[in-house]
């Protein structure tokens, strides 16, 4: 079924019709010539090996299609893309036919029209006419194309009725309605190639062919939500979004995801004040066309457990709602009362803190005379400067760039499970592993990565042994010869007892290998951050000084810091929490200030490779919540240390002064070549719940039950009642 891979889904390092690899059957060598052909009277030049459909697209002739997708292998089974080729006796399926030099193609002739009509008639003969109750309505390829290319009547009046297919339970995310399936097999190809969950397939044959897993099983993949976007009909739709909205009611806002450090480009669809769904936006440099399930479905967490008004803890240890002036005055009073001076004033930045607020908060704390700028790293590691140092950007960035992963020929994973820490990046590694002879080695807790790897050991000792060349094996051999070796260190390493040793070891190794790992055209040393705020944290220098590390704080400002260890907060300290969810951080606080979630503010986010991107406000914040940087700015006035900016432009000027790359949105500044310093388990045990938004999400809780704790309870009925949520 699977044939050559379409161009966009091929790793960039591989040429068309690629050379012999271990995992490929063909041994023909690549010839990257351009060929010229005529489409509808227009001459068009495309690379050799392109599909005819790509040549037609290039000539500006739209071709209807169902099974063909740029990023998936070619199946050629829907037959919708038939075109007429001169001197060919029959219409040709343009997705499966290679563009040939000198071919004369017609896409707008009576033959083609008739062929499309015929195909459409067959597809619709078994497709239920339930568009009014179908969630795909309004964005359905079958609907659109049947109007554009189909006939207005059918010749099928089967006494026996239409084909009936049982629905499959694919888990809490994908809702199936298999009667609507037209068997384009896009989902099957996605699951097998991109997601690496080789459970989905086609069973039966002919009219009885159906998509499914044969056995009862859920689709256990972090990328499973993407099959919903891929499905050209309403067979696979979103369970949490089922019957919630119609596409034409939604306002779309282009934004950036912050639930991992990849900065996936997303489109937030909202209706009124509610986020209705999140969908991917194509960005070949970051997330291609995919997003992870957490990115897609944690949005219902934005409706629960929100902080909507300022809260002050009363004498009976209960929160009392307050007005903004009262809350800010209470903070000023608290600061006075504790008598905190200098480094005793501490700020802790959490996972979801945006760059603007980090800059403003850092200025405020510095003006109060403190350098105690901690972050909520695991355990006590956030209270000290990070072991990798932050002076050189390449020490904490993903230097090879996300797209650059595809050109690596050997990858060494150190203490990371990219499948959980950056699910979309993991699909790139899998893509490269499938189509090139990439080898992967792993030091750290063994994990299911969706591609093969050689496990080199669990701990720092194993890493030392490998780096000193004492390990024999295929991976070690290939690593030694690799032209573009890539080391990927998990951010958890900076939060590990052996972290300093590991980074030191790697730094010495990178330095010792000279030009092999770090050179002008290749920087193979990478730190994979898993938390959205950390790259910006390090970029803006939001780390404690050595002196501040040992100070016992008396006044603590938690900025979205929910992963902070409660034991690290002294009982007599005055604690302020600013954030959007009433989670662990708010429980520790004396005063809570309601901020905005990422869908409610326009702010800058820096991803793991150092790319700064602009998130945009899709919906207004709930209740009295305010934009985060403005809260800190207002607080500075109450505390008597006015910050010198009045508006967002002023804040961004300040960001420019700190690091110009912070406001060069969407671009990527190369990192310097200098690497000053460069069981290791991943700290992420539950992919689906890592931050306040995903912890508050019902869908993510269901995913946790289905895929992490694997509770046997039926998920039926859950999520069916309308959820009572504010905002």
């Amino acid at each position: 079924m699977l044939r050559i891979v379409a161009s966009a889904s091929r790793p960039s390092s591989v040429s068309l019709l690629s050379v012999a690899h271990r995992r490929n059957l063909s041994s023909t060598s690549a010839r990257q010539a351009d060929i010229t052909l005529t489409v509808d009277g227009k001459e068009v030049t495309v690379p050799q090996g392109s599909a005819l459909i790509q040549a037609c697209e290039a000539a500006g002739s739209p071709i209807p299609r169902f099974c063909y997708h740029d990023r998936l292998a070619i199946a050629g089974n829907c037959r919708m893309c038939l075109v007429e080729v001169a001197r060919s006796p029959k219409p040709v399926a343009s997705c499966a036919a290679p563009a040939m030099p000198g071919a004369v193609v017609f896409t707008n002739t009576p033959l083609v029209h008739e062929a499309r009509e015929g195909v459409m008639e067959f597809l619709l003969s078994n497709h239920p006419l339930d568009c009014p109750i179908c969630d795909q309505g309004g964005e359905c390829d079958l609907q659109d194309q049947s109007i554009r290319y189909g006939s207005d009547r059918t010749r099928f009046h089967e006494i026996a009725g239409k084909r009936a297919v049982s629905n499959k339970d694919l888990g809490p995310i994908v809702k199936t309605s298999m009667n609507r399936c037209i068997q384009c097999t896009r989902c099957v190809r996605f699951a097998n190639e991109v997601a690496g969950v080789e459970d989905l397939g086609t069973t039966g044959r002919g009219n009885d062919l159906q998509i499914g897993m044969y056995v009862e099983k859920m689709m256990d993949s972090e990328l499973s939500g993407n099959v919903i976007d891929l499905c050209p009909v309403g067979a696979l739709t979103s369970k949490p979004y089922a019957m919630q909205a119609r596409p034409w009611e939604l306002k779309t806002t282009e934004s950036v995801d912050v639930l991992d450090a990849l900065g996936s480009n997303i489109r937030v669809d909202s209706r009124g004040v509610q986020v209705m769904r999140v969908q991917p936006r194509t960005n070949d440099n970051v997330n291609e066309e995919w997003i992870s399930d957490k990115t897609r479905y944690a949005y219902d967490g934005l409706r629960f457990q929100r902080l909507t008004t300022p809260l002050i803890k009363g004498p009976d240890n209960r929160f009392v709602t307050a007005s903004w002036p009262d809350a800010l005055a209470a903070i000023a009073a608290g600061l006075n009362q504790t008598g905190a001076k200098g480094n005793e004033i501490k700020a802790i930045a959490g996972h979801l803190a945006d760059t603007e607020t980090l800059v403003v908060l850092k200025d405020l704390i510095n003006r109060l005379g403190s350098d105690n700028l901690a972050s909520d790293l695991e355990g006590k590691y956030g209270n000290a400067p990070p072991v990798h140092g932050i002076d050189v950007r390449s020490n904490y960035s993903f230097n090879s760039t996300i797209a650059g992963v595809e050109s690596a020929d050997a990858i060494l994973l150190v203490g990371t499970n990219p499948r959980h820490e950056a699910a979309v990046l993991n699909s790139r590694i899998r893509k490269s592993w499938l189509h090139t002879d990439l080898v992967v080695g792993m030091v750290g807790t063994r994990a299911d990565t969706t591609y093969g790897f050689e496990h080199l050991g669990e701990d720092a000792k194993a890493l030392e042994k490998f780096l000193s060349g004492k390990v024999k094996g295929e991976f070690a051999e290939r690593w030694a010869q690799a032209k573009r070796p890539l080391i990927m260190v998990g951010s958890s390493m900076a939060e590990h007892a052996d972290g300093e040793a590991v980074f030191g070891m790697l730094a010495r190794y990178v330095a010792a290998t000279g030009e092999r790992i770090v050179r002008e055209d290749w920087n193979g040393f990478n730190v994979l951050q898993r938390v959205a705020s950390r790259p910006a944290l390090y970029e803006t220098g939001f780390v404690p000084s050595r002196a501040a590390t040992s100070t016992t704080p008396k006044f603590i400002f938690l900025l979205n810091a929910d992963e902070v260890d409660p034991a690290s907060i002294p009982a007599d300290a005055f604690v302020v929490y600013q954030g959007h969810h009433g989670d662990r951080g708010a429980a520790l606080a004396d005063v809570c200030l309601p901020g905005c979630a990422y869908t409610e503010k326009s702010s800058t986010w820096v991803n793991t490779e150092g790319r700064s991107q602009l998130g945009r406000a899709a919906v207004p914040p709930p209740g009295a919540a305010r934009e985060d940087w403005k809260i800190v700015r207002a607080l500075s006035e109450v505390l008597g240390v006015d910050l010198p900016y009045e508006d967002l432009v002023g804040v961004r000027d300040r960001m420019w002064a700190i690091s110009p790359s912070l406001v060069r949105w969407d671009g990527l500044e190369g990192t310097s070549l200098e690497v000053a310093k460069a069981g290791l388990g991943s700290l992420m045990s539950n992919f689906y719940q890592t931050d306040v938004v995903s912890r508050a999400s019902v869908t993510m809780a269901q995913c946790t039950r289905a895929f992490v704790t694997r509770e046997k309870t039926s998920l039926e009925g859950l999520g069916k009642e309308p959820l009572q949520a504010h905002a």
Binding site: R22, R23, E158, I159, A160, G161, K162, R163, A164, S166, K168, E198, D199, L200, G201, T202, T203, G204, R205, N207, D208, L209, Q210, G212, M213, Y214, V215, E216
Partner: protein, 244 residues
């Protein structure tokens, strides 16, 4: 005087009205697996020593990275060892042996109709009803078979588990139509009488001689040869004397 009720009852009143007006179209086999006491992944299956040797021999025909090419022969081997049907455990075992995702094996096993995914009787009777056999009276053969085995319907197994009867498409023995296959053997040129005889023999545990049951040899003309009736030339016959 007989009085008619004011409303005549309908001839076949539906007991309850369905919401949908379309009738379900059913396939003869399910293409999804549902766990049953006799067919679930918990039931262990392994090739016996002899079959394992045979399996390894089959696998050795293919390059090591394309081991999956052995899926069909291995499934067949598994089906034979598993009393003629391919259980989910057989499929899982083949997938494990060939180091491929189980789904790829399920796809193959559901695609090919000769992999029985439900248990069958000891004698698997497949009656051909495709056009040439039908023209030669396969309907009679099928009816005879079903009636003789105690009123089965095609697709059913006898209560004693000795016979399963199904209708199949062309088996490629059209010149000897009508025909049926019992397990691996073809019984051809059938009449209702010979069919009963064959079934009786199988019921007794015997195995009748496969092939045409009419007494003719393979697919020769049953009325005797009409061509090539004379003695064929021997070497040198009708040749110049010097070549004789």
């Amino acid at each position: 005087m007989l009085r008619l009720p004011r409303r005549l009852p309908r001839l076949s009143p539906p007991s309850s009205r369905l919401i949908s007006s379309t009738a379900p179209k059913r396939s003869d086999a399910l293409f999804i697996h549902r766990d049953t006491p006799y067919n679930n992944p918990e039931i262990a299956f392994k090739f016996d020593a002899q079959n394992l040797k045979r399996a390894q021999e089959i696998i050795s025909h293919y390059p090591p990275q394309y081991k999956k090419a052995a899926t069909i022969p291995l499934l067949d081997l598994g089906q034979r060892q598993n009393k003629g049907w391919t259980s989910i455990s057989v499929m899982n075992y083949v997938a494990e042996l060939l180091e491929m995702p189980p789904m790829r094996v399920y796809e193959v096993a559901t695609f090919y109709t000769m992999f029985n995914r439900e248990p069958i009787g000891t004698n698997f009777v497949q009656v051909c009803t495709t056009t040439p056999c039908m023209l030669r009276g396969s309907t009679d053969i099928l009816n005879t078979t079903c009636a003789h085995l105690g009123g089965l319907k095609p697709g059913e197994t006898t209560k004693d588990g000795k016979f399963t009867v199904i209708e199949v498409e062309c088996q490629g023995a059209c010149s000897n139509a009508p025909m049926m296959a019992v397990n691996d053997d073809f019984y051809e040129d059938l009449t209702p009488e010979t069919t009963k005889k064959i079934l009786d023999a199988f019921a007794k545990g015997e195995k009748p001689k496969p092939g045409p049951q009419s007494g003719r040899k393979t697919s020769e003309n049953s009325a005797g040869l009409t061509a090539l009736t004379t003695k064929p030339y021997g070497p040198g016959e009708f040749c110049q004397p010097e070549f004789q």
